[in-house]
Point group: C2
Chain length 241, copies 2
């Protein structure tokens, strides 16, 4: 285990920074392999060779004494696996079973319930931008109606749900009193997408800035953005891009 | 544990049958509580009182000797939790750690990568149907373009990925040689959505029927549909609707 090596396959403009952060937190020996999107969209063939759906991040673990690497995909699964096997000091692992289950819940929630709405908003934005004038107005109107009736509504419900959890807890991290996989997985959909994305915030059609709509989430987003090893992960990312 | 009681909160027209099936497989003592959608769409207030986002399924476990139930959401998380805690004979649990990890992967993949595209196709269908004539033609055209350039493309990649896994395995179940949580979670997006939904199959724009496009997945869908306790789950569902 001490000699295990990690290769993180990282597609640009994806959600993969979280796994860089995870590996930095656990002081694991990793190599970041960056792939640029073909035409700004598709995964290149080299990434498809690693994992056939072109998903990113993909984490390969070269275990000491084994010839074939273990190839992991799905951010929630990667975070769960790595913390379960490579956190001997319990740095990111809550001490109680009930809290461990809560982390597992958020690993599923973030990717299964929260992120899909964000992806659909992004797909709609791209469709509106790509349509030629004057069709773009029409596309924007239709996409806007689908967004407001479905994706934005669900997204706001989920953000309110998260804000309420933190309010009830009295702030801080999502589970217990320390950083866990829950914070790491939620950082991208909440921190990056809601509080650091002005276009997205406008699309939500709020009367107030997101920081006022969901004040506990906003405080949390500053707390996680300020974690020293998240800052190190951002620096590692920049140095490799 | 032997005296633990389960209440499955079940919203009509959702993916909740899978959890009925799971509970039937493990012979757990459960009550199915059915909620009808308000106006055919929204979760009713009674379900919001159980879980604030109006998600379904929600599983409550009333543990013997405890006053508060444990409330679980997210199908992947529910399946993982229930199998981990209520499968003492290992009926749905693979014997090796590597196979257990594979099941965990599929629990994340099904809801995080596969299902969102299906939801987006459904949302687009609903938007097209609801738009008044003649705008509905326009909406259908725009939605169709977004689908073909994004959601359908990703969906086909994921279905091909699953078909290739089964082909390499020589058919049968997804992990090992018996039914696991992987089959239970994949049954809805693959079996119900692709092979039992003619509208969806047409939207995929295939040259051949889905059963010819993904023959291994099709064989698998028949295998899981024929599981005796899945049939029992369907009967339980019907009796409660």
């Amino acid at each position: 285990m001490a000699g295990d090596k990690f290769v993180l396959h990282y597609l640009t403009e994806s959600r993969a920074l979280r796994i860089v952060w995870l590996l930095e937190e656990l002081e694991l020996d990793f190599l970041l392999k960056v792939y640029n999107r073909v035409g700004g969209v598709l995964a290149p063939k080299e990434l498809l060779d690693v994992f056939p759906t072109g998903m990113s991040p993909v984490l390969q673990i070269f275990k000491e004494g084994e010839t074939e690497p273990l190839t992991l995909a799905e951010s929630g699964h990667i975070i769960q696996y790595v913390i379960r096997h490579y956190d001997p000091q319990g740095k990111l692992t809550p001490s109680s079973d009930a809290e461990k289950e809560k982390v597992d819940y958020f690993l599923h929630f973030a990717e299964g319930s929260l992120q899909p709405h964000l992806v659909s908003l992004l797909v709609g934005d791209v469709a509106s931008l790509r349509a030629p004038w004057p069709a773009n107005y029409l596309v924007r109107g239709i996409v806007g109606k689908i967004n407001s009736e479905y994706y934005v509504k669900r997204l706001k419900t989920n953000l309110q749900f998260l804000d309420d959890i933190l309010a009830k807890k009295g702030g801080g991290f999502f589970v217990g009193d320390k950083l866990t996989g829950a914070d790491i997985i939620l950082e991208f959909p909440v921190g990056q997408n809601i509080f650091s994305n002005e276009q997205r915030a406008r699309n939500l059609g709020l009367d107030v800035p997101p920081s006022e709509a969901w004040p506990h989430l906003y405080e949390w987003s500053k707390l996680v953005a300020g974690q020293p090893l998240r800052k190190k992960a951002v620096a590692t990312e920049k140095a490799n891009l």
